[in-house]
């Protein structure tokens, strides 16, 4: 897509990039609910909110020229849909680093308006991608 030469396309992409801040806020708030959940039902409900953000980022970002966001969102979506969070505070903390990763990548892309490719070599993404692939494979 020739994003810069067509004013309508450029406006659509600017609008999409403009949504990153709100997506990051929604993700952060949903993860805070996961961390604070007192019951399994509350935690499952909050995880669904996190998965919804990740799923929508996964399905849209690459089409707008942000493939790294789609990769991180897709891996999170797979892990949240098919994986089981390790029990206890360590499990919450481990998965929390993935939510932070997506939030940081959204935040950086919101400012730079460019694909945040550096996150593809972030150690957190490497672990997330492996865990997501394993969870998806086990779900087949």
């Amino acid at each position: 897509m020739d994003w810069d030469s067509d004013p309508e396309l450029r406006a659509m992409r600017d609008e999409f990039v403009g949504s990153f801040g709100e997506r990051k806020q929604t993700l952060t708030a949903a993860w805070a609910k996961v961390a604070a959940a007192k019951t399994a039902d509350d935690r499952a409900s909050a995880l669904e909110e996190v998965a919804s953000v990740a799923h929508k980022v996964a399905g849209s970002a690459e089409s707008y020229g942000f493939p790294t966001l789609s990769q991180i969102g897709g891996a999170m979506d797979d892990l949240l849909s098919f994986g089981s969070m390790p029990a206890g505070a360590d499990g919450v903390a481990a998965w929390g680093t993935y939510a932070e990763l997506l939030g940081e990548a959204l935040g950086e892309a919101a400012i730079s308006k460019k694909n945040p490719a550096r996150f593809e070599t972030d150690p957190r993404f490497e672990v997330l991608a492996k865990e997501a692939a394993k969870a998806a494979e086990e779900a087949e």
Partner: protein, 124 residues
């Protein structure tokens, strides 16, 4: 009356819906955008659709429910259906085929690739 082929897209992610409408309109199609599955079901018999493009995960009714409703309706029983999903597992593809989808496309996609696929499906 429009001579452009009519396409119904059901997609709740507003930005991806807009991008699809933009690209397919540029390619000469008349596109109607439903923001949830129920809206798509309500629109099924409103026009002579040449193609239905259905996201899977949507509020009110998901893409599978829309596909099932389309196949049960004589007016859309044979209309080509393209299913879109961001999930990466094979079961979604198998379910699409079982319910009568014509084609399956994994999101995210390159808009030009989608447009080429749509042309192929509309032209039969």
């Amino acid at each position: 009356m429009s001579t452009q082929p009519e396409i119904l897209i059901a997609e709740d992610e507003e930005h991806i819906g807009k991008l699809i409408v933009f690209k397919l309109t540029k390619e000469g199609f008349a596109v109607t955008h439903a923001r949830n599955g129920q809206e798509a079901i309500n629109l099924l018999t409103s026009k002579d659709w040449k193609l239905l493009i259905l996201d899977v995960m949507m509020p009110l009714a998901d893409g599978w429910q829309v596909l099932k409703a389309a196949r049960e309706n004589p007016q859309t029983a044979r209309t080509p259906v393209l299913v879109l999903t961001a999930k990466s597992i094979q079961t979604d593809m198998a379910k699409s085929a079982d319910l009568g989808a014509t084609q399956f496309l994994k999101k995210p996609f390159e808009p030009a690739h989608l447009a080429a696929l749509v042309k192929k499906l509309v032209e039969g």
